[in-house]
């Protein structure tokens, strides 16, 4: 038996070494072959370049008005890195970089997106990001809330590119058990299972109304929960509670979430003497709300209104969120405080209109944003860029990577192959344990996704001396890119290039190549492996690694 295992192990190692050697064998300068024919567009892609260029014209007009220069386009690998970080939470693997360059696609960005959309990492990661806005990061009531189920369900929907409005209607209006109908976790997460009164163990209308307006409409209506808007006179306390009233029939039982006509939402307004029954009503675009009909629940009515094609805040909110996920910061800040009537920044209305017109096709939205010149701009410039340039998107903004992106990128960069759900199970276990512990120490950002946070001493210490970086760079024969590169790269320059590609997704400049190759010169065996470990550690500790750019 042991002999069989040893043989299997030997064969695996051989196979792996061969594959690795292929990945490492030199570096064909990109773009040698003539570009291939453009692949035909899928229905979801038709016209995206026209929309993208409309968006770009709006930005260009704004820059011209401000007499502001814009950066030149970034190179393909930089864009590939942005896409990978935003849509999978890690950097591209060397394997992916090689495939990308070998394909030499006519439209590299769209080619890459087609691959990403087929990849489970994309839907899993996007689902997690969206779940933060829908159900938060709290543990929630442990019997009635199944976060993992919820995220998996969402990931499945994203994988099949279900229209976004359909997804949201499920979240707001589905009925059933949190395990069988995972969308209802949107409601069940708000249940207070420790409530003293049995009748209080049900979905919380106030929290749900807050979530609904923030996550789906990009509005902070919950600011008027306790009193009328004090900054403008736009929103009244009644607006919020009338919206909350749509959740007034929702109840929770052993059968899960359902609706009953036997209860109504009651609230005692500021300065009111008593509690009163609040009738459901929407704060704007009331003509889009379906009439009350027998057999249609109040939640279904709300869902229809929220996701109505003419209810513009719905599309705008998602455009702003997707923009934020891809750029690292939202087009309108804060992410959930978009004005109802404008003014809006360049691009937002055009993207929102196209999103609604094309049945809220999320992949199309991603493709369109990625196709804009704005997305593809360099983050550096040959003039001196300022924060103002970033604010106007005239250079690609520098944003700090989120904790799971740092962890994901560190895991990915330490291996040459693509780390994904198909990877070996042991590898995955190591991956998840380390990743979680790392994120805990690094400090998860929770729900407040897009505020500039971090840059702390404990984070720095973790990067300098933490377990993950030690494990991921150390000289072992098991899984580390640094050791493999050391053993297999044909020469020092190639070894340095591999390190740069795996960690920073780019080739070193001549100066950098020389600097590090010199450090490796003449080293053999363990010493050379140590040298590679040092390079990997150094690159992982650079700002270039821990920032999106």
């Amino acid at each position: 038996m042991w002999a069989k295992r040893a043989l299997f192990f030997g064969v695996s190692i051989l196979g792996l070494s061969f594959m690795v050697a292929t990945l490492l064998s030199g570096s064909p300068a990109p773009r040698e072959a003539p570009p291939r024919e453009a692949t035909p567009l899928s229905p979801g892609e038709a016209g995206i370049h026209e929309i993208a260029s409309m968006v770009d014209q709006q930005f260009a007009a704004k820059w011209a008005k401000l007499e502001m220069q814009a950066a030149a386009p970034a190179d393909d690998l930089t864009i590939m890195r942005r896409l990978a970080l935003g849509l999978t939470g890690s950097v591209p693997s060397l394997e992916e970089i090689r495939a990308f360059e070998a394909a030499n696609a006519h439209d590299p960005t769209q080619w890459r997106l087609s691959r990403l959309f087929e990849d489970r990492r994309f839907s899993d990661y996007l689902a997690e990001r969206l779940a933060r806005a829908y159900v938060g990061t709290e543990d929630g009531p442990f019997i009635m809330f199944r976060r993992h189920r919820f995220v998996t369900w969402l990931s499945d929907r994203l994988q099949e590119n279900q229209p976004y409005d359909v997804i949201v209607r499920s979240l707001i209006a589905d009925a059933g058990l949190w395990t069988d109908t995972p969308a209802v976790n949107f409601l069940s997460v708000t249940i207070d299972q420790d409530a003293e009164q049995e009748e209080d163990k049900r979905p919380d209308e106030i929290r749900l109304a807050g979530r609904t307006t923030r996550a789906f409409l990009g509005m902070r209506l919950d600011c008027v929960q306790c009193h009328d808007d004090q900054f403008g006179d736009h929103w009244k306390q009644t607006h919020f509670h009338e919206l909350a009233a749509f959740y007034g029939h929702a109840q929770s039982s052993l059968m899960g979430i359902s609706d009953t006509l036997e209860q109504d939402y009651k609230y005692q307004y500021l300065r009111a003497e008593t509690e009163e029954v609040v009738a459901p009503s929407v704060p704007f675009e009331a003509e889009l709300l379906p009439e009350e009909t027998e057999g249609v629940t109040q939640r279904q009515r709300l869902a229809a209104w929220v996701t109505h094609k003419e209810n513009k805040p719905f599309a705008r909110a998602m455009v702003n969120r997707m923009w934020a996920i891809m750029f690292g910061q939202p087009l309108v800040q804060p992410i959930d405080d978009l004005p109802l009537e404008g003014p809006f920044p360049p691009g937002l209305e055009t993207l929102a209109a196209d999103f609604a017109e094309h049945d809220f096709n999320l992949q199309r939205l991603i493709r369109t944003i990625a196709a804009t010149r704005v997305y593809q701009l360099d983050s550096r410039a040959d003039f001196e860029p300022t924060i103002k340039h970033e604010d106007q998107w005239a250079v690609f903004p520098l944003t700090r990577l989120r904790p799971e992106q740092v962890a994901g990128a560190m895991m990915q960069s330490s291996t040459l192959r693509t780390a994904n759900a198909r990877s070996h199970v042991v590898f995955r276990i190591i991956k998840f344990f380390q990743k979680n512990d790392f994120i805990q120490r690094y400090g998860d950002t929770g729900e407040d996704e897009f505020e500039d946070r971090g840059g702390t001493i404990p984070q720095r210490l973790l990067m300098l001396n933490g377990n993950l970086i030690k494990e991921r760079t150390k000289n072992t024969s098991m899984a580390n890119a640094a050791s493999r590169i050391s053993a297999l790269a044909p020469d020092d320059r190639t070894a340095v290039e591999m390190a740069y590609l795996t960690v920073l997704t780019r080739r070193p400049e001549e100066e950098e190549s020389a600097y590090f190759a010199k450090k490796l010169a003449g080293l053999h065996g363990d010493q050379r492996a140590q040298g590679m470990e040092d390079i990997a550690w150094t690159l992982l500790n650079s700002s270039e690694f821990s920032w999106n750019h």
Partner: protein
């Protein structure tokens, strides 16, 4: 107003005393008045006219400690279950069995027995207790340790000024003040401090840092002029991290430098060692140390669960007060011993007690807090104490969480009504509570 406050009023406390409050107290049940010798205790207080306290040690009892099995036993009553009571240093005041050492130290601290909050979920209540605000989706408030670090001097301190020892799920956070105010998380002081030791020999570590500098230069090209200051803080954080790695102050974590008898006094537990480390850390200038004792969530088998935690809490809390006094740190340190809520007066069929934010205890020691004072009380029948409107200090009602924050901040000399500006430009006062002057030496 509850009976204890009544008595405070009677001996010239700050509480406004009139017929109406007396009537209310009567309605609240004057019959269950526990006699408290706090008038005597007041005399024992020393006049502390020195500087305000500079640090806080938070003994955080995660999960919800039972007031009935710790500071407020009601022995002999139905709600007490089988819990026995013991006498304390204050005549007429009893603690639960197992709290012997702490009971002896009651002459050194203030006990508030009528805490109330509106949060009954662990995460929300923890946030509420640590920040003084209820969870608000529009803003993450800083926990008290973060506020201290933000508002008090950092001079001379090379190690993190906000530390959480054996953190539970929700250690103190910087909130809108920024992540730099998050608590530094470390484990049982018997194990090494995480992440402060380089993984390679010093020479090699220094070479690596030089290489990082080299890579940074290339990243800076073509970017913001003030890349470091406006964005990355790269060399700032590396510089401070490296300084910390070689700081002598790290020794404050190392409780093995204390004598065996000192260590024994704190009890042989991670919590005991944490409390000892907290005293040492405060001594070198750390602003806030959270020491966590988890596992108080006794929905099942309440007495055994609580008892096991009390066994760790009692020697550690008492020894902490003693050592702070011995080392002249008591006046410049405030010790807070609290969990997120209390537990139900009723015992459920599983022999457990459930969550109860309607009357629980919190202990406050050091700084300007009175020594040997018990504030408020709970009903021996297990009735709820009402929450005041908008954190008011209302006779007959409980003490709102925000008011404890306001009182601690006031004792630290921090103007908590000052408005800080949140990242989105919203002005926000540090606390929206009111000072409970009766808890402080005037």
């Amino acid at each position: 107003m509850n009976p204890l406050e009544l008595e405070a009023a009677a001996c010239g406390g700050a509480t406004h005393f009139n017929r109406r409050t007396l009537l209310k107290a009567g309605l609240a049940g004057l019959g269950w008045l526990t006699p408290v010798a706090h008038c005597l205790a007041r005399q024992a207080e020393q006049d502390q006219s020195g500087k305000p306290a500079q640090s806080v040690i938070l003994l955080w009892l995660q999960g919800g400690p039972s007031q009935l099995e710790t500071f407020d036993p009601h022995s002999g009553k139905k709600i007490a279950g089988e819990t026995k009571a013991i006498n304390t240093a204050l005549k007429g005041v009893q603690f639960a069995e197992g709290m012997e050492q702490t009971a002896e130290q009651l002459s050194s601290f203030t006990l508030v027995r009528n805490m109330v909050s509106r949060e009954g979920d662990h995460e929300r209540a923890t946030y509420n207790m640590k920040t003084g605000f209820r969870p608000d989706p529009t803003l993450v408030y800083p926990s008290i340790g973060a506020v201290l670090c933000h508002n008090l001097s950092k001079e001379g301190v090379e190690i993190p000024r906000h530390i959480s020892i054996s953190p539970g799920q929700w250690p103190g956070r910087g909130g809108y003040l920024g992540d730099q105010y998050d608590a530094f998380k470390t484990n049982d002081p018997s194990s090494p401090i995480p992440d402060v030791t380089a993984r390679v020999p010093d020479q090699r570590f220094q070479r690596r840092l030089k290489d990082v500098d080299f890579v940074e230069r290339s990243f800076a090209r073509g970017r913001l002029k003030e890349l470091e200051k406006r964005k990355t803080l790269q060399s700032t954080t590396i510089g401070r991290a490296v300084k910390m790695m070689s700081s002598d102050q790290l020794k404050a974590f190392d409780v093995s430098q204390e004598s065996e008898s000192t260590r024994e006094a704190f009890g042989d537990s991670p919590f005991g060692r944490g409390c000892l480390a907290a005293a040492r850390l405060v001594e070198v200038g750390v602003r806030c140390v959270e020491v966590n004792l988890n596992g108080w969530d006794s929905h099942i088998n309440n007495n055994a669960t609580q008892g096991a935690r009390v066994a760790a809490l009692d020697p550690a809390f008492a020894a902490l007060i003693r050592i702070l006094k011995e080392r002249d740190l008591f006046e410049r340190t405030i010790v807070v011993c609290a969990g997120e809520f209390g537990r139900t007066p009723t015992i459920n069929p599983a022999g457990g007690r459930d969550h109860w934010p309607h009357g629980f205890s919190i202990a406050l020691a050091g700084g300007r807090f009175r020594q040997g004072y018990v504030h408020g009380g709970t009903s021996p029948e297990g009735e709820k104490i009402e929450h005041p409107q908008e954190n008011q200090i209302e006779p007959g009602k409980g003490i709102a969480v925000a008011n404890i924050h306001a009182t601690i901040l006031h004792a630290l000399g921090i103007d908590f009504e000052q408005e800080l500006i949140t990242p989105v430009g919203r002005p926000m006062s540090i606390s929206k509570g009111h000072v409970v002057h009766e808890l402080l030496v005037s």
